[in-house]
């Protein structure tokens, strides 16, 4: 296995880097010191650009390029997106719990590069205990002279604050997140303007995911060249993959971009629980199309491009694995129920469409549907797709559309007059194999 760049606490001898002294003893805050005392903001942006670092929050946008878009107005803000609410994602939490100072150091370097003197870390409300620990860690950084007025005796001043959300998935979307910090309902804004031009309080703002920021100190310390030795040409570095569902060893795996689904699932994570057969994969939580576990899919490399070429997304790499006992119409019900709950209600197609999809999928499970209901379900997905203000609307249709296409038999078994099925998905016998 390659070394851990982000989950460094997993390296022998570095288990205690969640303590400031241990983190500093391992070279921690040297990158920040170098940046603040000897680099211009532009030089930092150029370095991150050269590294090819791409945003880990889902879209994979090049981080250095994003920073270079900041409008020339002040004050500016940097916001860490620690909302981590995509079903199947639990990486930012491990980073902040076990390697918090590397994340904070990344946030602080980003703030210097953006010439921001205030940064916020937006955490989902459920990370209450974690936020309390981070509050204390930020206070330690003030005491050490790494935060506050005239950092390390320079002209640069920086304050970092945590801001807790309160249970709303949509606040992970960057403009809804900014609304939420402003004390408003977490509803996405119309774009453009993008946050780099008009973000928090209407000022130029950088929003980056927690894991993205945790990559920055090692890039500064070891250089863009070194970073590019990891991963692939267009997806450099490592990625923390969150494995959940029917995998033998669920958890986070930090691997270089470019290893295959097969290497990750069967080589590193012990394969499928109970020796069962893998039926399907959701590579990006509830938000991207389901993949049938064919050899072609299993031999696909985990990069943004390769997974997109399969018709799905790598997203934040919340990889949910499902074995042969799982009914994909039930999976669609679960994801649809999630999006119905999380729709912010601003656009009619998303609000009403998620309601109707859930309604039909509930009836599918109850066994009271006809072929015309499945056609209606498909029709509703088309009423939502491409007609919404933010990507959540499209996310909501992806598991439904892909399961109808790849696993029609999973739906057909529920048609009125079809053989009765046991009530619980987990107890269900084998269902038909994927068609492609």
């Amino acid at each position: 296995m390659t070394e851990h760049v982000v989950l460094r606490h997993r390296q022998p001898g570095l288990e205690n880097i969640n303590q400031l002294a241990a983190y500093q003893a391992s070279g921690g805050f040297e990158a920040y010191r170098t940046v603040v005392t000897s680099m211009t903001p532009q030089a930092v942006i150029d370095l991150i650009k050269a590294s090819g670092l791409r945003g880990r929050g889902g879209a994979g946008f090049p981080t250095g390029v994003k920073w270079s878009f900041l409008s020339n107005r002040f004050p500016r803000y940097v916001v860490a997106n620690s909302d981590e609410s995509e079903p199947g994602t639990f990486k930012d939490r491990e980073i902040m719990e076990r390697n918090p100072f590397q994340f904070l150091e990344g946030l602080m370097i980003a703030s210097y590069a953006a010439q921001a003197s205030t940064a916020y870390n937006y955490l989902r409300g459920e990370f209450w205990e974690l936020a309390a620990r981070l509050d204390a860690q930020i206070a330690e950084l003030h005491a050490a002279g790494l935060l506050g007025k005239n950092v390390l005796g320079t002209q640069y001043s920086l304050a970092v604050h945590n801001h807790l959300g309160a249970g709303a998935y949509i606040c992970g979307e960057e403009s809804a997140l900014l609304e939420s910090i402003e004390g408003k309902l977490g509803q996405p804004r119309l774009k453009p303007p993008f946050p780099a031009d008009r973000g928090l309080y209407g000022q130029p703002t950088v929003v980056n995911n927690t894991e993205t920021l945790a990559n920055i100190p090692p890039i500064v310390a070891r250089g863009a060249e070194w970073y590019r030795t990891l991963g692939t040409e267009s997806s450099p570095g490592t990625k923390v993959m969150c494995l959940s569902g029917h995998v033998a060893n669920a958890g986070n795996y930090e691997v270089p971009f470019g290893i295959t689904f097969r290497e990750l699932i069967f080589g590193l994570a012990g394969g499928i629980r109970g020796g069962r057969t893998l039926k399907a994969i959701l590579p990006s939580g509830a938000s991207a199309p389901i993949l049938a576990a064919t050899d072609k899919v299993l031999d696909t490399r985990l990069t943004y491009e390769d997974v997109a070429a399969l018709g799905s997304q790598l997203g934040s790499a919340s990889i949910i694995l499902m074995d042969e006992t799982v009914d994909m119409s039930w999976v669609a019900l679960k994801t649809t129920h999630f999006f119905k709950h999380e729709s912010c209600g601003k656009c009619t197609p998303c609000r009403e469409g998620t309601y109707w999809m859930t309604h039909i999928l509930d009836r599918v499970q109850a066994g009271g549907v006809q072929a015309t209901d499945l056609a209606l379900l498909s029709d509703v997905t088309q009423q939502i797709g491409g007609k919404c203000l933010c990507p959540l609307g499209d996310f909501a249709t992806s598991a439904v559309v892909s399961s109808l296409k790849l696993f029609p038999a999973d739906y057909e078994q529920h048609l009125m007059g079809a053989a009765a099925v046991p009530a619980k998905p987990a107890a269900r016998a084998k269902v038909a194999q994927p068609v492609s």
């Binding site: 981590e84 609410s85 995509e86 079903p87 199947g88 994602t89 639990f90 930012d92 939490r93 989902r124 409300g125 459920e126 990370f127 209450w128 205990e129 309390a132 604050h161 801001h163 807790l164 959300g165 309160a166 249970g167 709303a168 998935y169 939420s180 910090i181 402003e182 004390g183 408003k184 309902l185 977490g186 309080y201 969150c242 494995l243 959940s244 569902g245 029917h246 669920a250 958890g251 986070n252 959701l282 939580g285 509830a286 949910i320 499902m322 799982v326 999976v331 679960k334 994801t335 999630f338 709950h341 999380e342 912010c344 619980k424 987990a426």
Partner: protein, 164 residues
């Protein structure tokens, strides 16, 4: 009733200091957590004070309480046991776990036990999918995660909460 500023003067001041002076509205979410601390819901009287501190209308504060699921405008049980039944946890037995917990408590999902101590709710992913079944316990004092749970472990916890 004592105001938040009387009860928690230092915390109120620290919260307001985190945001620019002309954007006091940003303090609404942290102030609502304070308002919820004593009773595990936001009493109507607190809306006016939070609104005044944030320089917005009380109806705007009420709409924040309504939008975000971790704020409550009505009292529930002293502790809310919130079981994650989202897809990844459900694949590892969470629906079954939640049903057995409800049966043990003798209540329907979403309801509160007769002694008013425990409300049980089904919630969406809590970023702990690799440690299912799991739930969080929310009360005024905060939120704690309970992971890799069994029926035995949750029964023991319930007994402890009900004895408080």
């Amino acid at each position: 009733m004592m105001s938040l500023q009387q009860k928690y003067p230092d915390e109120v001041a620290a919260i307001l200091a985190r945001y620019p002076a002309d954007n006091k509205r940003s303090a609404v979410m942290p102030l609502l957590y304070l308002a919820q601390r004593a009773e595990n819901y936001v009493p109507a009287a607190a809306l006016d004070e939070v609104a005044a501190l944030c320089e917005i209308a009380p109806t705007q504060v009420a709409s924040i309480v309504g939008f975000y699921t971790l704020y409550y405008d009505k009292p529930g049980g002293r502790h809310r046991i919130q079981v994650c039944t989202d897809l990844p946890c459900a694949l590892r037995g969470a629906d079954d776990f939640a049903a057995k917990l409800c049966a043990h408590l003798g209540v329907e999902m979403g309801a509160t036990t007769a002694d008013g101590k425990v409300t049980v709710e089904a919630v969406m992913c809590l970023a702990a999918c690799d440690r299912a079944p799991m739930f969080q316990v929310q009360n005024g004092a905060g939120l704690t995660f309970h992971e890799n749970q069994t029926l035995e472990s949750v029964k023991a916890l319930v007994a402890k909460l009900q004895a408080e």
